[in-house]
Symmetry: C2
Subunit: 566 residues, 2 copies
């Protein structure tokens, strides 16, 4: 542990070979992807001597490209709390282009178009969440650039980076962590964080994978980058049949159907784009969707498009520019994520599904909780598991909350009205959670104290996007339970949808002007008039906690417009 | 061979698995790097059914980042001749940023700073070639982005791309080319171009490597990307000791010394840069420079910096952000590059040294010569080696010309005055060659006829940057012979330098206002007044061919400013 101000590196430090003579580091991080690099930035910026190890090297392909407002507020919170302004640059499309890379796409909405196999898409079976103008535009992150950017930032703050290092031996004792690489490299640190992925060396070493997993959701995925994907807006006839407020191609488009969903994440969807690619991924519950005939992912995708001609239109001129990635079951979990001197995080700990863009938000929540604990543990020279207990609870809670949400969504995909209902419970929980965090962020900026963030760790619903609110979380739990009843065949989907809509109608914490209880209102669209009416509601008839949350967020937005950071 | 207008691909074409059932292609290209992708663009745009195969995938690290005016005029020529405007976008820093990627660096000059081991750098021992304002700014290409861009363009024009395909079996007969991949893939085409690299499958199959190589030059290289490399302008004291017209950091900086050179190619050298990286590569003649003590490339670079403290200043805050690449001897050549139904090009055929940025120009010259031959061969269904004879001569000539030039330069590095002299023969030949090609490009644009380009193939000095000019090539040959005499210990370096300076002074084809014969003028700096005086010389007392070349180029520049393409 050195001073909290990063020291400039001596020239020989850049060129010293790895080996037995290497000076000790405080924290070794496995994986220089987005999770490991974010954590390395946070720690190195605050004087922790970070060793960042990766089995491969940048640049490299990665998915998980779509940000949501919840991602952006977490990016701002982490940037502010740990004083890493470079992380703030990822928190809006504008800042991303100005400071990081011009390869990203624009995200003004989340679009959901419901399809039935072999039948024409019904223009009324759609949903769209339009990101309020009050917030920044979100982004489609071209991950190869963003991930390398964050690694570079970590190195600039003093992290020691070694790539092409595959860790095979891990030995943890009272003195510290000893790591051995496949080519005989040796490393030594005081704590180990595994940010790698499914094949986590730490999970393997300590037998942390939960077998069988407790997770209910079950899916596999095929994904790639394509060129020549046409905007869905341009291929559907008749033009104007859809009344969605924001063009599908200005956001992340989800084609949803019984048994799965398909993501369409364009990078070419704004006038200054120089990136012609589009991220495309098909996620299926193989228990329900059935076989696509094999023959490799290209053939499977082709077979899929034949079943959904209205989706296929968008791909008439599309060609892959990289090999498809085809996965087995995506879901895995861990019995434990924290031990003495180690922690496994993010995709090393577990994974559910890309559906609600929770991968990056979960990563940020864990970095946020882990960062200050590690900084303090380094100062105190106490790395016992007890200090990291909350990180364990958070990681398990995040996986469970995401599992409930995605499982419910997949059950919803069986019946449009059930999806139409469950969509809203997800949307309102993430929006209200974002607003709550925007207020926290504003107060953090003004006071410089992270007290409120520490207090938030005592919230009851750890892992929920809106962890402080009983009403919202009880509604999420009822929605999940309802979907499970449908899944077990004990409840009719239409009845289930009605139950959830009733729940939405009676929820006191939902601003009525948003119209979430109206089935025929397919859009979550907080227009300025609706926002104004929601604010009036907040000031006059909302429950006190909701008033505070909404007003706190709006105050923050206003201040951010006057004195934006980044 | 389909129509010359590219056909839109059918959706099933994007998703058909590779295999025995694959329809035939006209030309299979191995390697989707910059050479293979450029050729694929040119062919696919003109209706050739291209199969582009690569053992790996984008994005990936590559060096060869620095363009020269000769590169840019070739990019324009190829773009115009084959009607691929996307290639034109690489021909200037401005167009690159506008159309391709904002990751590139600016190149306003080639700087050479001469160092002596263990002694302070002498501020008068420098050379700088300033790119005339008349031309565009050149670029430092961030190759991972540019290479992927060109692959994407090729796919957009209809090339079929398969990645992660390692070709292990090659069978060529009268019926065509049969390719077998490591995982059992099968491909069939009418012609095979190997654009891969040193480990060319075609060179291996047909035993084409020249062993031992005829090449005189001998070097190895260590290279990486770094962060935190400081501008050389900022670290040398006293400030202002250097009188170079353009800041070192606004171009490609070459630290040269007896036994080798070090490249510094920043991407962060302009106000809008978002790319903090700098390409750094050390190239050494191990026969002359001696051992750096081993311990891996990081340790070797460290040892190198200890020998050159004035170079080390630039690297005080530098850190690598990717693993070093360390090569063996860089030079290799082929006994033959063309056969019935196959050709090996570019780095699959041979390589010399990155010193004069000839890798990309050589690639473009070969693509230019190979493109129309393949288009015509496809139409005629005649792929006999005889039709590609010029490509063979060109490839061998390019390697030999580059070998002469770099070998002479390395001999020059032994003595500043000899380098000061040989530098000028390289500079004038590439500048006059560029001017000649600018005139050809202008006439191609105006007439639409490639007749002049076909006639150029009959020039005597095939492979030279200025192949039409006897006087210039004879001077290059005398320079090379002089350096070889020094190399053999038969001639004193100072005497050799004098001889080359005398040659420069008496060369009728060199515009006298450039002052190339004056030892104390360390800069090749065509300021507007010097350009004006050179033009007056061209119109009044220059040899007729030089008058035509200079006026032709200036006319072209003027027209390009009025109606730029890209």
């Amino acid at each position: 542990m050195t001073d909290p101000t990063p020291l400039p590196h001596r020239p020989d430090q850049a060129v010293r070979p790895a080996g037995a003579g290497e000076p000790d580091h405080d924290v070794a991080i496995l994986g220089a992807g987005i999770a490991g690099s974010l954590l390395a930035c946070v720690l190195a910026r605050n004087g922790v001597r970070v060793l960042l190890l990766d089995a491969g090297t940048h640049p490299r392909f990665a998915v998980g490209e779509s940000t949501i407002p919840y991602t952006s507020v977490l990016l701002k919170l982490v940037a502010e709390r740990y004083q890493v302004p470079e992380i703030r640059h990822l928190a809006s499309f504008h800042a991303l282009r100005q400071h990081v890379t011009d390869s990203g796409g624009l995200k003004r909405n989340f679009g959901f178009v419901y399809h039935r196999q072999g039948r024409p898409q019904r223009p009324e079976e759609i949903n769209q969440f339009v990101i309020p103008k009050l917030l920044h535009h979100e982004s489609h992150l071209f991950r190869q650039d963003v991930d390398a950017y964050l690694t570079n930032v970590a190195v600039r703050y003093g992290a020691t980076l070694h790539q092409h290092v595959r860790i095979e031996d891990i030995d943890i004792d009272g003195a510290g962590v000893h790591l051995g690489g496949a080519r005989g490299e040796e490393f030594h640190a005081r704590y180990l964080v595994d940010c790698s992925g499914f094949r986590s060396p730490v999970a393997a070493k300590f037998g942390l994978r939960e077998e069988p997993s407790r997770l209910r959701h079950h899916s596999r995925s095929l994904f790639t980058h394509m060129i020549g994907v046409q905007p869905f807006d341009d291929v559907m006839t008749p033009r104007g049949a859809y009344r969605n407020p924001s063009p599908w191609h200005h956001g992340t488009l989800h084609h949803v159907f019984d048994g799965g969903w398909l993501w369409v994440i364009p990078f070419d969807n704004h006038p200054e784009s120089k990136n012609p690619l589009c991220s495309v991924g098909l996620t299926l519950d193989p228990r329900r969707f059935g076989d696509l005939g094999g023959g490799g992912p290209e053939a499977e995708f082709d077979a899929f498009l034949r079943r959904f001609p209205d989706i296929a239109r968008q791909f008439r001129t599309a060609q892959t520019v990289r090999p498809w990635v085809s996965t087995g079951r995506l879901q895995y979990s861990s019995t434990r994520t924290v031990g003495d001197r180690f922690c496994i995080t993010s995709h090393a700990a577990g994974f559910i599904d890309a559906l609600f863009s929770r991968g990056l938000t979960n990563t940020l929540e864990v970095v946020n909780a882990l960062g200050y604990r590690l900084i303090e543990a380094c100062k105190d020279d106490d790395f016992s598991a007890a200090r990291f207990r909350f990180v364990e609870d958070l990681e398990q809670g995040l996986v469970d909350a995401n599992d409930d949400m995605v499982h419910g969504a997949f059950v919803g995909f069986r019946d449009y009205q059930l999806w139409n209902a469950t969509f809203r419970t997800w949307a309102i929980s993430t929006v209200l959670g974002t607003f709550m965090l925007e207020g926290v962020y504003d107060r953090l900026r003004r006071t410089g104290s992270d007290r409120e963030l520490r207090d938030l760790e005592h919230a009851k619903y750890v892992g929920s996007p809106f962890p402080t609110h009983a009403g919202c979380n009880e509604m999420l739990q009822r929605t999940s339970a309802t979907c499970q009843e449908v899944d077990r065949g004990e409840l009719d989907a239409a009845v289930a949808a009605g139950r959830i809509f009733d729940d939405l109608a009676s929820a006191e914490f939902i601003p009525p002007p948003l119209g979430l209880a109206q089935r025929e209102n397919k859009f979550f669209h907080a227009t300025p008039p609706r926002m104004a009416r929601s604010m009036r509601w907040a000031m006059t008839s909302a429950p006190g906690d909701m008033r505070d949350i909404l007003l706190g967020a709006v105050r923050g937005f206003a201040r951010d417009k006057v004195a934006p950071h980044g």
